[in-house]
Symmetry: C2
């Protein structure tokens, strides 16, 4: 496979950098081709700016959605953004690697999403009708490709458990896995998470590295999180509510959007991608 790893950490000698190198080596040992977007090393521009849209007249009001659409259709995005889009088209699998800061991705990576996921490419794709609400959530430009997160956190695994104070890790990552990756069509694999990394000494590193190698060896075969396709019949249109007969009765929240329930989403525990509803 061809794999793009988008990496966001400011320190070349960090644990994240070491894990990145472990992942790349294992992928290449398996015969895959790997490209890396190292956002800090490349001085990636984080924020959406007016200058992202060269076609916009100097006195025109910037409406980001409209400007993105215009620039994408005219092939007039800035070269840094266009290069990332080409990499995404090239890759069979996308890996986003980052430390979780304040329960989300670092700003530089959020800016990569905000700028690269252009209208007409990652959203605003497909028709809208009373049976179809755009090609998204399981359909779209990147369908047939795989995506996965590699993340680190200073906190304890227990604190990210089902009853942990931070909230469950799968819920914290849902806006990324479902809202950013599944949205334009990726099959999203369970994340690789390394906890308590501030205390990960040399003795703790190797088991973590080996766990990551195993995930890299199975990148092509690990069943994805069985999110429900938007246009596959599970959702009413246009409300986009999950049909009342699906999901646990009375349940709400992110877990509803995983066919067969949230236990299908846990890292390593996802043994099937079939819906049992």
């Amino acid at each position: 496979m061809k794999i793009l790893l988008v990496y966001a950490h400011p320190e070349p000698r960090s644990l994240n950098a070491a894990l990145r190198d472990v992942a790349i080596k294992e992928l290449e040992d398996q015969g895959h081709e790997v490209r890396v977007s190292d956002l800090y090393a490349e001085a990636w521009q984080s924020q959406v700016n007016r200058a992202d849209f060269p076609l916009l007249a100097p006195d025109a009001r910037l409406v980001v959605v409209a400007a993105s659409k215009e620039a994408f259709e005219a092939d007039a995005l800035t070269p840094d953004v266009s290069a990332e889009i080409e990499k995404l088209r090239w890759a069979d699998a996308l890996i986003l690697q980052f430390p979780i800061w304040w329960y989300a991705m670092p700003a530089i990576l959020k800016g990569w999403v905000d700028r690269v996921f252009a209208y007409g490419f990652a959203y605003g794709v497909g028709e809208h009708s009373d049976k179809w609400w755009g090609d998204r959530f399981g359909q779209g430009t990147l369908v047939g490709k795989r995506a996965m997160l590699i993340v680190t956190t200073g906190g304890w695994e227990e604190h990210y458990g089902a009853r942990g104070i931070n909230g469950p890790i799968d819920d914290l990552l849902f806006p990324i896995n479902h809202g950013i990756l599944y949205y334009p069509g990726y099959d999203v694999l369970p994340p690789f998470v390394a906890y308590r990394v501030d205390g990960l000494d040399a003795g703790g590193f190797e088991p973590t590295a080996e766990r990551l190698r195993e995930r890299m060896r199975t990148l092509a075969t690990t069943p994805p999180i069985p999110y429900r396709q938007q246009n596959g019949g599970d959702y009413l249109i246009p409300s986009l509510h999950l049909r009342p007969e699906l999901g646990d009765p009375g349940a709400t929240g992110f877990g509803l959007h995983v066919a067969g329930g949230r236990n299908q989403e846990a890292g390593g525990a996802a043994k099937s991608n079939m819906s049992v509803d």
Copy 2:
């Protein structure tokens, strides 16, 4: 009250800018003092960089937590970050205003959090013991102050409902409301959300503006979301699991951390901040 409004939109003639001005005028009409951090106008640096930590030796490895701690304790943060910390200390209430992009805040605002919420200020505060896990989640530097989000989204309100495909808006905002604002001690008010803003014409603006004015008039009196205090007895230490007898039996997810259940969190419906457990 003294109020800090941190604002993140690139276009001065946007709907967000119009709503910001509505909020400021109403707050000032009520006798409040308002300061604004307009991140785009001030060319705020989005990403955490090595240059954020002037004390760090050129050949030293950047460990963000340690560097942040050292810089904060030595009063050696960069002037832009120090200025924001002073504003946060000054303000009785903090408002974060932004368009929801890809189910989260824009990169420039995430970078404001990543850089301004320094170790020793917003985290790493208080003692750790077998009965106390730091001053956080309801305790900390900013305790006694209020915070609130003003957000806009292109999507429909139904799509952010309890069974909507995007996930419930309160769950999508939980990592911000609970993980970023409640964490250092803020009392967090239900968010102000304007949906379908791309189609909000002049006729739709005034009702939205009036709804926002009402929220600004009640900023000092609206009951906060009744998140559970970490060290108040609801959580086991050190697992930080919610005690088994609390919350709905079998329930998981973010709603567990709201005393009395998730219905207490819905915007405008939060009539009480008392726990009914």
